[in-house]
């Protein structure tokens, strides 16, 4: 007893600062709370309150002209549920998401399996594979719109070049086909994210597991099913949730590619919510639709979790083996003498090896073409003279290469194209806003990440961390609506502060989460050493921890900048003049204002918009990957 008491006493004195939080809950150092307080308070102000406000909106009927608000209770929801439009959109969203999730998962898994093998140029191919995901969705929309464009599109051009001109068609002419093509674009954009997540899981897999399975006689397919797939299961669960939510929230590429058309063939829930809110200014109904979408995201995440998460294995195992085991025990175990097994081969070993090598080479080439060709095409179009875009018959080969389009957007004084003149200033806006939000949020996130990493066992910290993650399940549209209403009355529309606040809603949880992962790799003993060496907590944090996690900070900065650079929805709704418009908004603006033969500058601007992501993909790839793996936040 005495001894025991003394033991506890010693651990207590040692653990005054660092003891496991569960045991000493409520007695954490004030510093712990101080680290996460700014992030949490700001999140409440800029995310929780607007969400509650939009929930309130969904119980009101607003008149855009008289600006009168009437509390109607659940009437908006009733109205929404009674409209056929809603159910059709829901069905379309379901179909679109199913297609996108299956495609994303299948392609993402295949890419990851190939990229996990060793071959010359693997690092380069990894960068290439990331391109479609790192690009701004607006640029992706522009690119694929032109691929499928009716008369002069790239696909039709290719068909003509191949002498298959008779198959050329207006690809978006058919509604169902348009929906499928948008889903394909979504897959093109999202598959790399799944690849990234799976690749890191594959690399953490012990190599001996596969060796053991080879020796146990399992062939490649069996090994994939029995060893690799179970190992990937938790990651697959996670990536499926992410891709489902991203599919639910798909907005940017629909805006650029089809705008819900033709007819209402690509009108998904998010598009319907956008239309109600910002075209028809029926904020109440819009909010109701968007809340339904939010709840759907949450429900889906929970459903996946229960369906796919590993069940308690004990119950499963007990059922299968019980009776046989009993019988065997009675029969006295004895070794069964087995004949050495002769493997039956359909083809000889050498042929099989050659075939599998050929197949592997082919998949490498296929992945390269899938990821790179469209991007290269975008660059080529931007270098083609504007007249090439409306040639008859269309062709994918430019008649000549010119920088004319770039001259028009970068030195725009002389040109008549209003939109082109906006490009330089919008690039500057994108750069400034991106830099400010990145520094701001990573600064806050560094503190919060430390708190969340170190005190993860404490209930307050774990719950608030989950709350932060939960904001990921909220479609940006649900947030942008209250922002629009609130900002209008506060005069924040079309201002830098407005944009910074809006982007912080996405970036703050992202930065905190990324920094949390970075801090988790720092051993606790480093902190203890610093404290023993006489540092105050603040000095320890500044002089020891921050230098150690610097790579994580850089990764978070780069990632936050990119997310902000690519963002379209907030920027479109919350800006109205070139003064604050970012590059995606200006690109989108081309589609409204430019005539078809003026699309040259549009492509030049799209290429400029993908330059920073492309540069990051090739030169700072590991930061990008770190962001993707720890972030789980960016779509």
């Amino acid at each position: 007893m005495v001894c025991e008491e003394r033991m506890t006493a010693t651990t207590d004195t040692q653990g005054i600062e660092f003891s496991t939080p569960r045991r000493r809950a409520g007695r954490l150092p004030g510093f712990a709370y101080l680290t996460v307080a700014p992030t949490l308070i700001l999140m409440v102000v800029i995310v929780a309150l607007p969400l509650i406000y939009s929930l309130y909106l969904s119980f009101n009927s607003t008149n855009p002209i008289t600006k009168r608000w009437i509390f109607v209770g659940l009437a908006n929801y009733t109205k929404v549920f009674q409209s056929a439009d809603f159910w059709w959109s829901l069905a379309r969203t379901g179909y679109f998401s199913l297609l996108a999730v299956i495609g994303t998962t299948v392609f993402g898994t295949l890419f990851a399996l190939v990229l996990n093998e060793r071959f010359a140029g693997r690092g380069f191919l990894r960068s290439i594979v990331l391109l479609p995901w790192a690009m701004a969705p607006v640029s992706i929309g522009v690119l694929w719109s032109f691929v499928y464009a009716g008369n002069f599109g790239l696909l039709n051009g290719l068909l003509h070049d191949l002498g298959l001109g008779r198959y050329a068609t207006a690809w978006f002419g058919d509604g169902f086909r348009a929906l499928n093509l948008v889903a394909l674009t979504q897959i093109w954009n999202q598959a790399p994210l799944t690849t990234l997540m799976l690749l890191s899981a594959l690399q953490s897999m012990p190599a001996n597991l596969h060796r053991a399975a080879v020796l146990d006689g399992a062939g490649p397919i069996k090994r994939f099913l029995a060893i690799t797939l179970p190992w990937l299961k938790p990651t697959l669960l996670f990536s499926t949730i992410i891709s489902t939510i991203n599919a639910f929230m798909t907005f940017d590429i629909i805006w650029i590619m089809t705008r819900g058309g033709p007819g209402s063939a690509t009108m998904t829930l998010s598009w319907l919510g956008y239309l109600q809110s910002f075209q028809f200014l029926k904020f109440g109904e819009g909010a109701a639709i968007l809340y339904v979408l939010t709840i759907l995201s949450l429900a889906c995440a929970i459903l996946y979790f229960f369906v796919l998460s590993p069940r308690r294995p004990k119950a499963a195992a007990a059922g299968t083996g019980e009776d046989t085991a009993l019988e065997v025990v009675r029969a006295r175990p004895a070794m069964v003498v087995m004949k050495p097994r002769i493997r039956r081969r359909i083809v000889s070993a050498a042929t099989a090896k050659t075939l599998s090598r050929l197949f592997f080479r082919f998949s490498i080439v296929a992945i390269f073409v899938w990821s790179f060709l469209p991007v290269a095409a975008l660059v080529f179009i931007s270098l083609s003279p504007a007249t090439d875009l409306i040639r008859t018959p269309p062709s994918i080969f430019p008649s000549t290469l010119t920088f004319e389009n770039y001259r028009m957007v970068l030195m725009a004084e002389g040109t008549a194209n209003v939109q082109a003149q906006r490009v330089p200033i919008s690039l500057l806006n994108s750069f400034l806003i991106g830099s400010i939000v990145a520094v701001l949020n990573v600064g806050l996130g560094t503190f919060a990440g430390y708190g969340f990493a170190r005190y993860a066992g404490n209930r307050f910290f774990s719950i608030s961390l989950w709350a932060l993650l939960l904001t990921r399940m909220v479609p940006a549209l649900t947030l942008v609506l209250p922002f629009f209403v609130i900002f209008r009355s506060l005069g924040l529309i079309d201002t830098y502060p407005g944009m910074i606040i809006a982007y912080s809603t996405i970036l703050m949880p992202l930065a905190a989460w990324m920094m949390k992962t970075a801090f988790e790799t720092v051993p606790l003993s480093l902190e203890r050493a610093a404290l023993v060496d006489g540092c105050s907590r603040w000095t320890m944090f500044r002089k020891v921890l921050v230098p150690v996690v610097r790579p994580g900070i850089i990764a978070a900065l780069i990632f936050c900048f990119l997310v902000s650079w690519n963002e379209f929805l907030f920027a479109m709704i919350l800006t109205s003049t070139p003064r604050t418009q970012t590059i995606p908004v200006v690109i989108a603006g081309f589609l409204n204002q430019a005539r078809f033969y003026e699309y040259g500058p549009l492509f030049a601007a799209s290429v400029l918009a993908i330059l920073p992501p492309v540069a990051v993909t090739f030169f700072f790839q590991r930061y990008l990957i770190q962001g993707a793996l720890s972030g789980a936040v960016k779509g």
Binding site: P206, N208, K222, P230, P310, A317, T324, V328, M335
Partner: protein, 339 residues
């Protein structure tokens, strides 16, 4: 069960030759250890035998049949990995049954055979657990169970005990030896722990730089090392090496004497004596080790009772003539017969 004959085996990784023309002949039912420092190619050689690495030249025969062109699945070998490589998502039962199910055996046979393996290794109570719920020693047993369950012709073990704590390692190695005797299986055991190799093996292949330095029974390797590398690698504490001139040997030779053969004695007498200053007395249980400075060399000797010896004293050490080993300075070959 099978005999193994390796001849002229070579293996390169890129331009680096890891194994250079290696010959080895292993009898049916033998327990063989590959012993050597890390990077000597012992694990590579094991993987070549397993078929996990392709060989660049030479041949591997099981019972006279060339198998180096066969895939690992067709060689009927089993391998216990250093990290056990248990399938994390399968219960112990499924782990052990996995290789049997790959052979498309009927479930009754599988259950019987699993029960047999579990009985042999005493792991019946663990059958429904997941590997994560097992201790290190239990995982080790399961890994061995998965290896022996399908009655392989050769059982390969890649440092299987190195992840266990010291006392468990000693217990497990006894069990492994017993099991091998019981099953009469041919075992190749890779280790860098000489004690493990000595205790377990019928014969030890001491390896260095991709070549077998000596292949002989444990005591043979200890008592009659083929060269200076083997002499230095086997035995703890390490053999003392001194220029042979010190005891009247030939120039260009090195004399080696094990600390256990070198003892303090009253005066310069006998076949081999050294005089020096005692630096340190290290108690090691039954013995005390003495560190003695002889000229420029520090020599280690043993004594049972260090009474009367204090650091700083001058001591005289002596060994019997038979205990001395002479090695050529270049090449390190044992040249005892010449001196």
């Amino acid at each position: 069960m099978a005999s193994i004959k390796i001849s002229g085996l070579s293996k390169r990784f890129g331009d680096v030759a890891v194994i250079k023309g290696l010959d080895l002949s292993i009898e049916d039912g033998e327990f063989i250890s590959f012993l050597g420092p890390s990077g000597c190619g012992k694990s590579t050689l094991l993987y070549c035998i397993a078929g996990l690495e392709e060989i660049n030249g030479g041949s591997i025969r099981f019972d006279g049949n060339e198998i180096s062109d066969l895939g690992p699945r067709e060689r009927n070998i089993a391998l216990v990995f250093q990290d056990y490589a248990l399938y994390p998502h399968m219960s112990v039962r499924d782990n052990i049954a996995f290789p049997l199910r790959q052979q498309k055996l009927d479930e009754t046979t599988v259950a019987k055979q699993v029960a047999w393996a579990a009985d042999v290794l005493g792991i019946e109570p663990l059958l429904d657990r997941l590997p994560a719920a097992l201790s290190g020693g239990q995982r080790q047993r399961v890994a061995v169970g998965r290896a022996i369950v399908r009655n392989p012709s050769v059982l390969l073990m890649d440092e299987p005990l190195s992840n266990l704590d010291a006392s468990l390692r000693v217990r497990m190695r006894t069990e492994i030896r017993k099991l091998q005797k019981e099953l009469g299986i041919t075992v190749i055991f890779v280790t860098h722990d000489q004690e493990e190799a000595m205790v377990l093996s019928d014969r030890i292949a001491v390896m260095n730089q991709g070549a077998v330095q000596q292949f002989a029974a444990p005591m043979e390797v200890y008592a009659r090392p083929a060269n200076r590398f083997v002499a230095g690698f086997i035995g703890s504490p390490q053999m003392n090496f001194l220029p042979a001139q010190i005891c009247g040997g030939r120039e260009g030779h090195v004399v080696g004497v094990r600390p256990h053969d070198l003892k303090p004695q009253p005066e310069l007498a006998g076949d081999f004596t050294l005089k020096g200053e005692l630096l340190l007395v290290e108690p090691a249980g039954p013995f005390q080790f003495l560190d003695v400075a002889v000229g420029d060399h520090i020599v280690r000797a043993t004594c049972v009772d260090p009474a009367g010896l204090a650091p700083g004293d001058t001591v005289t050490l002596g060994a019997a003539r038979e205990a001395l080993r002479f090695f050529a300075t270049d090449g390190g070959q044992c040249v005892n017969h010449q001196s």
